[in-house]
């Protein structure tokens, strides 16, 4: 919010006149407001129709604003919760090289969260407000992060599959109709490609290592494959808000379309890795890699909070927030002290 975003207060004190004059004035104002509302909606529709970008200070329908806030916030929360499953392995990375890479990756996730909170704030919400909504469970994050990271190979599977699925989801968001979200996604997508490649490299190395290392890589892929396919969300016929988001240019492709794109890209990569995906029904139909049924009961159970790590992730997030409070307070106190000194110096 810029300082003049909030306009001067409407003069309530002026006497609009008494009786019928007042009524006439009221009617004129109501008609004026109706026309203005109509014009604003028409301008918004024109922007969307012309595939132009909507910017923060443009008028937008309430539902558009709310949908974006919910989606961007959920996306931001996913980035910062996503630091946990990987942070789990920083101290146990098998080499200094791997450790430095993993730290850079987890730092990127924090950065992605901040880009997205920054984009959400242009819609008139506070970052602190959004964090509160995450902490009290009113807003969600991607259910993929409710699965545990049991072995080092999981760092590979997360990079290759989870970040790979995220890229397929996110590339079209770079053309999202809301400018700040689209710009944040451009930045994020550039960085995600490092994430996916480092994951692939971990699995490629393990797969060609000892038989135990190969088995560890295969086990990680077996566990992460299906949850990765669930990341694209419910099937199209069970995704009630998709059509509206597509009409608004927030979403560019359907969930099933993106899921198929991901499978088509990923199956040949598994072959290069020398690993298989855990799907007996997987087959090439001449155009696409067709895959078996997804266990949507599991998806909805994890979404409702009954995944293996939901409680652990939320506890850790709240604890990190509470235990970091003194740092935020100390920085505020220091800033206040410096400001007071500067003021004193100026007065002297």
């Amino acid at each position: 919010m810029y300082r003049n975003d909030v306009g001067p207060p409407v003069d309530q004190g002026a006497d609009p006149g008494a009786g019928s004059d007042r009524q006439a004035e009221f009617d004129r104002q109501a008609e004026f407001d109706r026309q203005a509302e109509f014009d604003r909606q028409a301008e918004f529709d024109r922007l969307i129709g012309a595939d132009e970008r909507v910017e923060p200070r443009d008028w937008m329908p309430d539902a558009y604003r709310k949908t974006l806030i919910r989606q961007i916030a959920q996306h931001a929360h996913s980035e910062i919760i996503g630091m946990q499953p990987e942070g789990n392995w920083i101290t146990r990375a098998p080499s200094l090289r791997r450790k430095a890479i993993l730290m850079a990756k987890v730092q990127d996730e924090a950065g992605h969260g901040l880009y997205l909170y920054s984009a959400a704030e242009t819609l008139g919400v506070d970052r602190a407000e959004l964090l509160d909504l995450l902490h009290c469970g009113a807003q969600k994050y991607s259910s993929i992060f409710n699965y545990p990271t049991l072995t080092w190979a999981d760092m590979g599977a997360i990079g290759w599959l989870v970040d790979g699925a995220a890229i397929v989801n996110q590339v079209p968001l770079c053309r999202c109709s809301y400018g700040p979200y689209a710009r944040a996604m451009v930045r994020i997508c550039k960085e995600e490609s490092f994430h996916q490649r480092q994951g692939f490299e971990i699995l490629f190395t393990l797969s060609r290592g000892t038989p135990e290392q190969h088995a560890m890589a295969q086990d990680a892929v077996d566990r992460w494959w299906w949850p990765s396919l669930m990341m694209f969300g419910p099937p199209d016929d069970a995704s009630p808000n998709s059509a509206r988001s597509m009409a608004w240019g927030i979403k560019r492709h359907s969930n099933d379309e993106l899921r198929q794109r991901f499978v088509d890209m990923t199956v040949p990569q598994a072959e290069v890795l020398g690993l298989t995906v855990p799907d007996a029904d997987l087959h090439w139909d001449g155009e696409h890699w067709r895959f078996g049924g997804i266990d949507w009961d599991e998806f909805y159970a994890v979404l409702k909070g009954n995944g293996p790590c939901n409680a652990q992730r939320m506890d850790h997030r709240r604890r990190a927030h509470d235990e970091g409070a003194w740092v935020r307070d100390a920085a505020s106190a220091y800033a206040a002290k410096q400001a007071a000194r500067a003021e004193q110096g100026a007065a002297a």
Binding site: R57, G111, S118, E121, R183, R328, A331, S332, A335
Partner: protein, 98 residues
């Protein structure tokens, strides 16, 4: 420790100069308690891969912006002065380098 009012850190807008010869460009915003912290946070957030050689941070509240409505009459004075553009002038086809 003295009592500190529990207040959100202010919002800063961040501008990065990608390299010499280019102007600073808006890249996003962040929260920080003061200007030096805003600069450090901006470095960590927006230049992790050498995206810039110089950063400006500006308190968002200090930015005065034109009307929220970007197609405002504010910009109208420029709209009807087509003669400010070189394409307005008709020049004989045989004239070169003009």
């Amino acid at each position: 420790m003295t009592e500190v009012p529990r207040k959100e850190w202010p919002l800063w807008e961040v501008f990065v100069r990608p390299r010499r010869g280019l102007s600073h460009q808006h890249v996003g915003s962040l929260h920080a308690p003061d200007a030096p912290m805003a600069l450090r946070n901006a470095r960590d957030l927006y230049t992790r891969r050498g995206e810039g050689v110089s950063i400006w941070v500006v308190p968002a509240a200090e930015i005065t912006a034109s009307s929220p409505d970007e197609k405002d009459p504010f910009f109208d004075p420029a709209a009807d002065k087509v003669y400010r553009h070189p394409t307005f002038y008709e020049i004989p086809a045989e004239v070169r380098h003009l």
